[in-house]
């Protein structure tokens, strides 16, 4: 039954007017954002279920697809490395474990970014006809990515078992337990960028198309499939360029820290990781705030 008469009396009044958010002041907006996220938890979960459920029902090969693409990527690099075309650096773990682990973490960023960026544009009809939390839609887009990641973790475990039989001596450390937590900054960065790109993509559709090309390029620039390049000081110009890019690339720290925690139990460059994490948190906060200020424009343009 509909709410009783008493509860109607006290029902909350919502006001819509131009530049409403600006009149209310920035601090009250943070309260609004948090309240909205909390109130829409169930919606977010339902949207994840919709996305994940549909994906795995649609393709019999659902899980196979998730595993196949990273395997092909890693397989290509294994081939390039063993034929001496590329140098990937030296590492303690077998290269395939190193690479699969890196790709799994990278996918969390790359897939999440693409899915999040296209979430609003994909929602089309729903957005223009029903008023619901658009933040939930972007957040829910991360759901399928996280499920894919879980599948890849199984693949990683399989690699460990395989190489364990072949003599790879691995002893789990406390760092392994911290590895899942160390993914949080990467997720925040992904979500933050996804908020902004989703907004842009709902207005200009070219964004999502460009993005899938861009993330592939970014993966090659980031030490995901190779070790951080070590360049001696006297090597000049071009040779040190990649090293310099890596140094200022927050993705490097965010991707390699979880991997290092799994493989060796400790992060090589803790300072870099902390700075990158702070940067991610900043991006996330600015993005969700900006999204909140502008999301009412979305339905008009989708």
């Amino acid at each position: 039954m509909p709410p009783s008469d008493e509860s109607r009396q006290s029902a909350e009044v919502v006001v819509y007017r131009p530049d409403n958010s600006l009149r209310r002041g920035y601090f009250s907006l943070w309260g609004d954002i948090v309240r909205e996220l909390v109130r829409n938890r169930w919606l977010t979960v339902q949207l994840v279920k919709r996305d994940v459920g549909a994906f795995y029902k649609q393709s019999l090969l659902g899980i196979v697809w998730v595993v196949l693409i990273p395997l092909i990527t890693v397989g290509t690099f294994v081939l390039l490395r063993s034929s001496g075309v590329v140098a990937v650096g030296t590492m303690s773990a077998p290269y395939p474990i190193f690479a699969v682990l890196g790709v799994a973490v990278w996918q969390l960023f790359a897939q999440g970014l693409v899915a999040g960026a296209s979430s609003l544009a994909m929602g089309g009809d729903m957005l223009t006809r029903i008023n619901f939390s658009k933040k939930s839609l972007v957040i829910a887009a991360m759901g399928r990515t996280i499920v894919s990641f879980a599948v890849l973790v199984v693949l990683v475990a399989a690699c460990f078992v395989f190489y364990g039989f072949r003599g790879y001596d691995y002893t789990p450390t406390l760092g392994l337990a911290l590895a899942p937590l160390s993914l949080i900054p990467l997720l925040l960065l992904t979500l933050g960028l996804a908020f902004y790109l989703a907004l842009l993509n709902s207005i200009v559709r070219d964004i999502a198309t460009m993005l899938s090309v861009l993330v592939t390029f970014l993966m090659l620039l980031t030490p995901v499939l190779y070790e951080r390049p070590v360049v001696s000081n006297d090597a000049g110009g071009i040779a040190s360029a990649l090293s310099a890019i890596t140094e200022y690339n927050p993705l490097y720290y965010l991707v390699s820290a979880p991997r290092e925690l799994v493989l060796s139990g400790q992060v090589a460059d803790v300072g870099g990781y902390l700075i990158a994490s702070g940067f991610s948190l900043g991006v996330f906060l600015v993005a969700i705030f900006g999204f909140h200020l502008t999301e009412t424009r979305i339905a008009e343009r989708v």
């Binding site: 509909p2 279920k49 729903m126 842009l200």
Partner: protein, 399 residues
Amino acid sequence: MRDGRAISIERVSKKFCRSLRRSMIYGLGDVTRNAFGIRSRSEVLRPEEFWAVDDVSLEIERGETVGLIGPNGSGKTTLLRMLNGIFWPDRGEIQVRGRVGALIAVGAGFHPLLTGRENIYINAAILGMSRSDVDRNFDAIVEFADIGDFLDTPVKHYSSGMYVRLGFAVAAYSEPDIMLVDEVLAVGDRGFQVKCFKRMGELREAGTTFVVVSHNMHTVAGFVDWVALLHDGKLERFDNVFDGVQSYSRLFLGDGDETIEKLTSGGQGVEFRDVTVSSQKLKPGGSFSLSMSCESREALEDVEVDIAIYDTRDPDLYHQATNSAFGQRVDLPAGKSSLEVEIGPFQLHGSFAKVAVAIWTRGRKESIFWWRIPLELLEAPHAAGKNLVPTSFRVKAAE
């Protein structure tokens, strides 16, 4: 906003852009401005923009049912979306008390591969229901949708009727304080429509406020307390529903044309001269006559006079019959004669009609007369609908 009020719309306007490319550029500009906390200056029109809703004010009390009517493109849907918070006004202010539900896009957010059961939960969540709301109403929703054994079948295997029924059922049980309805009462078969009206009646009984957009004046006349007529983005309130419905109908009459189309006025050896039309404006129940003097070289026996009447707003044929339908034979003698045709009484009212009169020689060998005459059919007060069927009322005291 006063306590008993559900919706208050104060001098609200909304603009849109005609050009897609500019719309994208403006969109980027607005988003950037908003993101940096700069005022959008939304009250100013930029090139290619226009006001879809223009300076509209409206107060709706709690528990009222209001009909929002107007021609296509008059801004009804835009206003409804602003009430729902999907679009924000560019000028003015809207206040809404309580939870707003929408019977607008029924089944929006349904995923074709998921089952009816899964989709009920997802759709309900999108419509703003909580988990406990859905659990409590789940059986009622399934019962209302009447999808039987298909509950655990992916909705892509549903018939379109089942799909719509399920969507409607979820929305109908979303228990809002204010329900926005956009032309969805036309869904499903008769049985389902009756169910929908019953459910809406229940919600009204419980105090839900309704804003109903419809082109179906029957729905409007029978369901709402008062109407708001939108035309070119402007709004006018009618406390008397029939006055509103008539004003709405009148919007379509303005473009009436009184020119008679004279397609044929004679044939081989016959000519019609001095045709007089009694009147091109008819009161409800009035008749219309045509007097045609003709001159024929020889007698034309058993000609066929075919009369068709169209409502100009509706392509459906309203009436078509020849003189044979009335058991009458028409013979035109040689020389001068005059043929009188009387049509009516008309039951069609409040509309524009065209009367086509065609005369053929026997066996439809030759068309010797064909005119199309526009008629304005004045409207009867306190009546909606196209036909005015003569009706009488009598009260007898019980013995």
